[in-house]
Amino acid sequence: MSALPATVHTLKPPRVEIGPADESTQLHPAMNQASSAPEKPLYVRTRAPDWLPRVLAPFIGLALFVALWAIIARAGGRLPDPVSTWHSAVDVFSNPFYKKGPNDQGIGWNVLTSLGRVGIGFGLAALVGIPLGFMLGRFRFLSDMAAPIISILKPVSPLAWLPIGLMVFKAANPAAIYVIFVCSLWPMIVNTAVGVRHIPQDYLNVARVLNLSEWTIFRKILFPAVLPYMITGVRLSIGVAWLVIVAAEMLTGGVGIGFWVWDEWNNLNVQHIIIAIFTVGIVGLALEQGMILLARRFSYE
């Protein structure tokens, strides 16, 4: 019986709404015009193509940014203006791979050195974090055991680990790599574990009814099912690692983009600092996009 009034209810509103709808078109003649506009072919023809604003928008944004920068630079202070920074950048990038002693190397070497540290620290973290994530995802007890440790250590700034690294390794380079290792570790453990826990029961049932061996289950079901989660973990890790390396190198010195920033600050070469900021940003963007491409390659939907 209760179904009948419900259907009456759903029928009613459209009729009631005719009134207000008419009113609104009278109150807002502009709306009325807009809705009838597509009937005139001339209007369509004169409009710019849909993709144009989407392509132009980023360039307009960048132009506004540079304009704002120029205005602030002109207003005073020691901020260099965009034009002089550009000339300086052309100069810096015209010879990126020179070596004049340990503390004076081209920006190319600095970036590559930083990327190398990130690569090593991150690679070690992947070697430890991914298997650990698999184990935490597969065994409830291990996961409950690790939960408080991970929860406490995850929010700690990676730089807080640096003194311990310096103490243990007694050298700047391994300490920086160790900081990258620590900060890359958590996202990879957590994401891999979540991935393992989210494998659909259906896939595991297929494995069970076929009585597949553990190794086959890992190769054909667990690993491919977890891969997208793992790549997300890797992407987050690389992002954090690239953020952290600049700060770590500022503290440890040597060669590297972070050290370069600090060195140029000591030389009071602000143009080079700005160049470094953009370089760090562009390299970070490239890493992120590379990981997104990789993730798309392994998405099965």
Partner: protein, 264 residues
């Protein structure tokens, strides 16, 4: 032996829940002969899928046991081919690779690679999907996915084919086509089949016997209907067949008169 090829022997199933024990199945005994097509029908929640999962070995019954071809079932195994309701194909493998996974598991130790590939080809040809073997599951329709699922289950030459509402997620026309195809395949291979369904027409059309389950909790067998329609059966001819109508009416009577009151 052929009369008691698959024995379901006094199976009870009690689940331990937070609110105490929940008896899903009570006193289920059923013998299925070799080459027979048996359907389990009942309202949703009556435990028919639980019974199928017990036969599959995915669940262990609280009491009673399952004997298949004179061997007791103690766990899941490839002597039973299972077709799941939602196809359960692995999305990162092509149709060929999905079937190959099963074939390799069962025949990989004894047969050469070319023989395994040939087996996969034949299984996919059987469900008329030879042309789509290199497609990924997301590239084919729901009906095709379910056919790959059937091919995977049959490719390992199981002693019994277990179907868990295999066509439940498909539209009516696709479902009818797949039922026709399933009937042709079962006739060609002589498979023994246990199928869970909630579709009266599907049950009558395909089965030799229909097992009617009472509503849970403590569901049991409410009656068994022998479908004595001659084979091969033809959908359109059956539609007006008097015996078909009578059997269908009997099933409906059981499901909607005897069992509905409790279900509502």
């Amino acid at each position: 032996m052929t009369d008691r090829y698959l024995q379901i022997d006094e199976v009870h199933m009690v689940f331990e829940t937070r609110k105490g024990p929940f008896c899903a199945l009570e006193e289920i005994s059923l013998d299925i002969h070799a080459g027979e097509f048996v359907s389990l029908i009942g309202h949703s929640g009556c435990g028919k899928s639980t019974l199928l999962n017990i036969v599959a070995g995915l669940l262990k019954p609280t009491r009673g046991h399952i004997v298949l071809a004179e061997r007791e079932v103690t766990g899941p195994g490839p002597d039973r081919g299972v077709v799941f309701q939602n196809h359960s194909l692995l999305p990162w493998l092509t149709c060929f690779e999905n079937v190959h996974l099963a074939v390799e598991r069962v025949f990989g130790a004894t047969a050469k690679k070319a023989v395994l590939r040939e087996r996969v080809h034949r299984a996919l040809e059987l469900v008329q999907l030879g042309h789509a073997e290199h497609k990924y599951p997301h590239e084919i329709s729901g009906g095709m996915k379910q056919r790959v699922g059937i091919a995977r289950a049959l490719s390992i030459e199981p002693k019994v084919l277990l179907l868990d509402e295999p066509f439940g997620a498909l539209d009516a026309l696709t479902r009818a086509r797949l039922q026709d195809e399933l009937m042709r395949i079962v006739a060609a291979t002589g498979s023994t089949v246990l199928m869970v369904t909630h579709d009266v027409d599907e049950a009558v059309f395909l089965s030799d016997r229909v097992v009617m389950m009472t509503n849970g909790p403590a569901a049991t067998i409410g009656g068994i209907l022998t479908i004595d329609l001659p084979r091969p059966r033809e959908r359109i001819a059956l539609a007006g067949h008097r015996r078909y109508m009578a059997l269908r009416a009997e099933l409906l009577e059981f499901l909607y008169r005897k069992q509905m009151r409790e279900a509502a």
